[in-house]
Amino acid sequence: MRETRTMRPRAAPNRLIAAAGLLTATMTTVATAQLLPGVPASPREKGPDELARMSLLPERVGIPVGGSAWVLVRLAIEPKWHVYWRNPGDSGVPVELKWTLPAGISAGEIRWPRPEVFRTPYEITYGYADEVGLLVELKASEEIGTGARSASIRGDWMICKEMCLIGGADRTFEIEVSGAVEADATDSDRVPITDSEAFAAIARWQAQVPVAPPEKMKLRQMVEFPNGFRADANENAGVLRLSGPAGRFSEVRFLPDATPGTTYPEGGPVEGRVASGRFEVEVPISVRPGDALGEALRAAGIVCLGNARTDPAFEIEVPIGPPTAGGSTAP
């Protein structure tokens, strides 16, 4: 099997760059939302297809047989409007992507960049203003044949300023499956770069995606139930405790995920403290096993250092299960 693969031609990045320049993906936009009743339409007002414009980078995705490639779904957002993170907060709905892919190609989960916090007199929400890039990994199976195929993506979003609209768009694009790469290939061989603009944009947004805490960071994440945890209890009061090195940052906050059965304090992100180069965040949680909707109970979210979109942020996830000695659970 391996021998068969090594005999196939390697991906030819240079040739693909040239191809990308000659071929342009077919782009179609479908506006699906309309203005609200009672809001007079005027020539100055933009519809939701203009309030957020979706584009795909690269427009021609090169994937080796059995390999993968990153795709960036970019939304250019009208000033003062915003779309929502995977946990929208007090209100809102996350951006949703639906892929229609040829057999043998699959799409991974959205990698969400670190969101901004929006505060209004009514609510606190999480999302993105101006521009957001959502990264998705496309994978090709080992059995797929080489060649070009067409694919499409449907994006749906709720976009708000003082009022909210539902928008969406469709894009079609091309996937070029190339021969498998050699086992000893470098990363740049594995992911053929077909478009330098796409490469730069993907790198820029990848840098904003919260990562799993690296081993050497020794980030501690645990949930404690001072009064114990009972799966048959209506409600268990607990604390999610996070601590780790703060580097040069003096600010730290936790942004919760939407986790069925586990709720976090109202009023937005939970601020932590930094002392002697270490951060600590204590997040009071309430766990109602009956509200888990069949999912495994967990406390999850991201812990963010500093204030900039590009400052470090780490994925947090602590499963909540039967109590261990000491009444706490840790990963």
Partner: protein, 216 residues
């Protein structure tokens, strides 16, 4: 009609205020209104609908009551969009299915929208939405937001199911899948469980929708 509306609203505020003051004394709340809690008696209210009829929660004793927080401007609620549960047929389907399970079920909309607009305009826009959907439902006006805050209504649509004893049995999302037109439905499950003398298995979910634009 106008006098009656204003008077009943004053009564509602008085009733709501009385409730919250007593709760505050009991040490259950600090400075904000008490949030409705599943498994506990639902907060009492008196509100007047857009047609001028007054509704008191106690009037529905013995019947299952579904409250749906509503806004004529939110695209997931009454706003003109494919996501609107009123315009895309989801509410019609839910009401029909609930009536088949329990013909006595009461389904009312509560409108806590203020958004700096006159109340009359909001009531008129709300009636206009319902005129297009083929389902006639009372729209209870909560212009001051007192009842919405008491229930902790965050978004439109945010749903609450109250049993015949006045106990809150479900709060949360309209349904499990905002993209479906007829998906799994927490509210129908709650109404069915109550009808069968059971406790709904899903009691609390995260609602989706637009934030309620309360009076500031």
């Amino acid at each position: 009609m106008q006098v009656k509306t204003r008077l009943s609203r004053r009564l509602a505020i008085a009733a709501a205020a009385a409730c919250c003051v007593s709760l505050a004394h009991a040490g259950l709340v600090d400075d904000v209104a008490a949030k409705a809690e599943v498994g506990k008696p639902a907060p009492a209210f008196t509100l007047t609908d857009t047609g001028g009829t007054t509704h008191n929660l106690a009037d529905f004793k013995g019947k299952t009551v579904v409250l749906e927080w509503f806004s004529p401007y939110c695209p997931w609620s009454g706003g003109e969009s494919r996501g609107s549960v009123h315009r895309n047929g989801k509410v019609k389907s839910l009401v029909e299915k609930m009536k088949a399970v329990d013909p006595n079920v009461v389904y009312v909309l509560v409108n806590s929208t203020h958004q700096g607009r006159p109340e009359k305009e909001i009531a008129r826009d709300s009636d206009a939405v319902l005129a297009t959907t083929g389902v006639k439902l009372p729209i209870l006006m909560d212009y001051d937001g007192t009842v919405g805050k008491m229930y902790g209504a965050k978004v439109t649509p945010h749903l609450y199911v109250i049993d015949g004893e006045g106990v809150l049995r479900y709060q949360g999302a309209f349904d499990a899948d905002r993209n479906s037109t007829d998906g799994s439905n927490y509210v129908l499950e709650a109404v069915t469980a109550i009808k069968n003398g059971e406790t709904p298995s899903t009691a609390s979910t995260r609602p989706y929708g637009c934030g309620v634009k309360y009076k500031r």
